[in-house]
Amino acid sequence: MTTISPTVSGLGRDRLPGGFDPRQLRTQFPIFQNNPDLVFLDSAASAQKPRAVIDGITDYYRNDYANVHRGVYRLSGRSTDLFEEAREKTRAFLNAADHREIVYVRNTTEAINLVAFSWGGTFVHAGDEVLISDVEHHSNLVPWQMLCERTGARLVVAPTDATGEFDLAAFEALLSPRTRMVAVTHISNVTGAVLPVARIAELAHARGAKVLIDGSQAAPRLPLDMQALACDFYAFTGHKVYGPTGIGVLYGRAELLAAMPPWQTGGGMIEQVEYAKTAFQEAPHRFEAGTPDIAGAIGLGYAVDFVEALGRDNIRDHEQALTAYGVERLSRIPGLRLLAAGQRQLAVMSFNLDGVHPHDVGTVLDQHNVAVRVGHHCAQPLMDKLGLAGTVRASLGVYNDERDIDQLVEAVAAAREMFR
């Protein structure tokens, strides 16, 4: 791992160590050719797609399409091979021990629902506790809230401290023998704070709790190693790793998946069906009812190729430097307040302009071709805690560079001017 010291100069740093060149990379994304003025700073909501992903999906439909798994004919065999090769790529992307630990779902949200229904429905009982953090996305909160409602378990919330840092000491104090599940995000989609997930997993496991990590924001930018991280479940969503919509991944440790009942049922996950009873296949098929998003899984495979070719340590270093640059430039704007993100902030910057509503800022920014997200970012409890209606959020992707930040800063200044 190489570390790049953040630079605050806006000049002459297009080419990063590791040959990372966002402007060059942009040419691989058709959206920027077709919207040449677009300053896209909303990759935390969803990333744009490189040509390799778009064309990979197209080629699949044009040359090799057929339903998977149940055909003896060659086209179906080819389709199945492509689908399972994509699963193997995804396994390698996470360095999971076995491809059978990779379950295809629609998105992070469905991955977490799957765990909450299947694992939670089996192993969480009245009086048990589910421990989350206070920066969770609704998708890593409401499914647990509903599980608690169904079972009589209790939802416990571990706080972030005033500096925006996950409070490890408070977390440790909240762990109890009743804690069955610790479900936290790897990177906050609101503040950009990177949570100490390895340490969290260690502490949780020491108390006998299972650990789910919401990797929605981490998968596109951090090297991941399920065997080293030793979490139980890891969820991410394809559309944020430069892949297509409709596909996401639940990684689950083999022993856990083996102990979980199916959730959705139907074709493709069946061992044997009689009216009286049904026997199910093993993981991952057991959890993939119906025709999967075959093209989505294959497209995600190409996205993984794209990210791996760049190298996630290069992406992280690039985005880390760019985050530092952005924080530096934004924090100089009078009346602009950045959300605290603790020791380590990556790829996401949330802020408010004094006396100006985020929605109004967003509209002005859009007029300057700067696409950012405004609102509660699906984290209402965090907004409530901070006493905010919402924030303006700028977030990074591999195609962003300092010029994008400069344009953002200019547009924010214009908004300030207008609402002065």
Binding site: V356, H357, P358, H359, D360, T363, V364, Q367, V374, G375, H376, Q380, M383, A389, G390, M418, F419
Partner: protein, 153 residues
């Protein structure tokens, strides 16, 4: 793309910064809350009806410049109108900001509509139309009196 100044006209910025009738009415005859789940904005409208006439109108809540100005201007034009006139104004206003079919407006109301004119710039910003109509929807709900908070979308 319109010039932003057509959306954020001086009068909008003024009402956004200094909303009129921004207060609670203690014993309103009608009240309702509105909520835009997309941005989390909330508004509560209060009305006092005297027979059929809206003798007082006020609002509270947080929102963007557009929604605050819209609520502010709305309370101004509603005061002194009958319920039917209020509804007529809303129908017309709604059509103007969404690009729907405009209903004809009787003479005295046409004048009031002019005061709402600055808000119709929102028509070029589809994502913001809800901001301009949220408080009106809340009034509608208050008059229906079913007490269910309204929301846009």
């Amino acid at each position: 793309m319109m010039d932003l100044r057509e959306l954020y006209q001086e009068i909008i910025l003024d009402h956004g910064r200094h909303p009129r009738n921004f207060r609670k009415i203690e014993n309103p005859t009608h009240t309702a809350r509105g909520h835009n789940p997309l941005c989390g904005d909330r508004v509560t409208v209060y009305l006092t009806l005297d027979g059929d006439v809206i003798s007082d109108a006020a609002f509270e809540g947080r929102g963007c410049a557009i929604s605050t100005a819209a609520a502010s201007l709305m309370t101004e034009v509603l005061k002194g109108k009958t319920v039917a006139e209020g509804r007529e104004l809303f129908a017309h206003f709604h059509a103007r900001v969404t690009g729907g079919e405009e209903s004809p407006l009787s003479e005295p109301l046409a004048e009031e509509m002019e005061r709402l004119e600055p808000l119709t710039g929102v028509r070029a910003y589809p994502a913001r139309v809800k901001c301009a109509t949220l408080s009106w929807h809340a009034v509608e709900a208050a008059l229906k009196g079913d007490g269910v908070p309204v929301k846009t979308e």
